[in-house]
């Protein structure tokens, strides 16, 4: 495997007294697309919140390009080149489409992604650029959320349940656009409930079950049986 861009070692995450992740060990290689699957409540979103710095972690648990980032705030992690497309899109309702995209560039990192590049990828957004983000359809909102993350020119991009709540045809469009998005040498973590979709775009897959890694495998060789065992915990 190429040098890891992101490593978690013995990652334990808590919401107050409730422990949501147990000793999660995960590696993302440079330029690699990783899928994370798991049932509701398995800890996928918690893992995303820990990695991005929205949850406080213990020291030494998360390394990004060899640097310990476990104790950094989310904005500091973002400046290092880590961006997220959050679950449920979570656009800023009082900002227009264009402003939502521009706020993604707030971290000031240089790279191929700017307003023009995002509009080239999703032409509909240029037509709607001055509209309130809440006036768009779910699929268009997801495009804004993806564009907003790209505007940061990240080295590692996290997609948290991008297909949730979208029509199948829209999901198909978005997954067809993904290779073009990630193609530019970016690494990605894709959190997904739709296992087939997740496997089709990733090179390796992790499955979480009740806060623990229950499976780690190459995406093209993993068997259905392994997945259902890791997913549901049925022996």
């Amino acid at each position: 495997m190429p040098d890891p861009i992101l490593q978690t070692r013995g990652l334990n995450s808590f919401y107050g007294d409730f422990q949501a992740l147990y000793d999660v060990e995960l590696d993302v290689g440079e330029g690699e697309v990783l899928a994370i699957i798991g049932a509701n409540g398995a800890g996928k979103t918690t893992l995303m919140r820990s990695i991005t710095g929205l949850l406080t972690n213990g020291p030494g648990q998360i390394h990004y390009r060899g640097q310990d980032v476990s104790r950094l705030r989310a904005d500091e992690v973002a400046e290092l080149g880590l961006a997220m497309v959050p679950e449920g899109r979570q656009l800023f309702p009082s900002l227009s489409v264009k402003e939502n995209l521009m706020i993604g560039a707030q971290v000031g990192r240089k790279g191929p992604w700017d307003l023009k590049a995002v509009y080239d990828l999703f032409p509909i957004l240029e037509e709607r650029k001055d509209q309130a983000s809440t006036s768009l359809s779910g699929g268009q909102q997801q495009m804004v959320a993806i564009g907003r993350a790209l505007m940061a020119n990240p080295d590692l991009i996290l997609f948290d349940e991008v297909s949730l709540g979208l029509a199948p045809i829209i999901i198909k469009d978005i997954y067809e656009a993904l290779p073009g998005i990630i193609g530019e040498g970016m690494s990605a973590i894709i959190v997904e409930q739709d296992i087939t979709k997740a496997l089709s775009v990733s090179s390796r897959v992790y499955c979480l079950q009740e806060g623990r890694v229950s499976l780690e495998s190459a995406s093209d060789t993993v068997s259905r049986e392994d997945i259902s065992r890791a997913y549901f915990g049925i022996e």
């Binding site: 710095g53 929205l54 904005d75 800023f92 009082s94 900002l95 402003e99 706020i103 707030q106 000031g108």
Partner: protein
């Protein structure tokens, strides 16, 4: 004609109330913080103006050059050092802490400046007036109203046309996601408080030129500011100006009927509007 005069004077007074209210409205809009110490901060700005003018002999309006940045710095430090720690899901801690701050500022001012009423001496500006159609308009109230419009326009422009304003709105919408975009909310809140207290500085200086002040009057200014914000509707700065004008006109008309009714009439107008339109006249954000 006397009634027309009362309405015109009340409208101009409303400009001052809008300036009291603009900072409150801004802070509440960005971080959902209700600042009980706002009135005392206005008075603090007036006293800072007093110190600057007596020490340097500057005109109070010129002293703005020093007092506005000074208050902005105080605002940033106050937010980063104290108020950020109180923000969270519970709205009670910021209320209690700013209430405590209010007591501290009042007593601090009392200690340093005594309870003697003070004014800022603005010379001819205090009494100059122009006659328009039989109504004498004071230059100071006119200037105050003009400044209020300029300040609100400036805040509005900042909010909707600058990167800082975009950051204010993003953080106000969703703090976590804004943080993911590289916005440090603690810093953004600090900037919002700095901006709010910069406006408060202008309000304090204009208050000090207009009337005498002592350390105890902050509470009253806070109430007028609150009423202007609520009448206008939360989150709408132009609404706040309208709220200030309604309050000012109600007060001058009340005073015209009976001088003792001035403040009461303002409160009654506020209660009537609250009863008819609980969200204010032009609300942008709910609760």
């Amino acid at each position: 004609m006397e009634w027309l005069n009362a309405i015109v004077q009340g409208t101009l007074l409303g400009g001052l109330y809008a300036l009291f209210a603009a900072g409150l409205s801004l802070i509440f809009g960005v971080m959902r913080l209700v600042n009980i110490a706002h009135g005392d901060l206005i008075v603090l700005a007036a006293y800072l103006g007093l110190t600057v003018t007596t020490a340097t002999g500057m005109h109070p309006m010129a002293a703005l050059v020093i007092v506005v940045p000074a208050m902005a710095l105080i605002g940033y430090a106050l937010q980063r050092g104290l108020l950020n720690q109180t923000l969270g899901d519970d709205i009670l801690p910021p209320l209690l802490v700013t209430f405590g701050l209010s007591v501290i500022i009042q007593n601090g001012l009392l200690e340093v400046y005594t309870a003697d009423p003070q004014t800022l001496n603005a010379g001819a500006l205090e009494t100059a007036s122009v006659a328009v159609g039989g109504v004498a308009l004071g230059i100071l109230p006119l200037l105050t109203f003009g400044i209020a419009i300029a300040v609100i326009w400036g805040l509005q422009w900042t909010f909707y046309h600058t990167a800082l304003g975009r950051a204010f709105r993003a953080v106000s919408d969703n703090q976590d996601i804004a943080q993911l975009m590289g916005l440090n909310r603690r810093h953004i809140f600090g900037l919002a408080m700095a901006l709010a207290l910069g406006v408060t500085a202008i309000a304090g200086i204009l208050l000090g030129i207009r009337t005498s002040f002592d350390p105890s009057i902050g509470g009253g200014r806070l109430i007028f500011g609150f009423e202007a914000v609520i009448i206008g509707g939360l989150g709408n700065l132009w609404g706040t100006l309208v709220g200030g004008v309604i309050l000012g006109v109600a007060q001058t008309i009340g005073a015209k009927i009976d001088p003792g009714w001035q403040v009461l009439a303002g409160h009654i107008a506020f209660l009537v509007i609250l009863a008819v339109r609980p969200n204010g006249l032009f609300p942008r954000i709910s609760g």
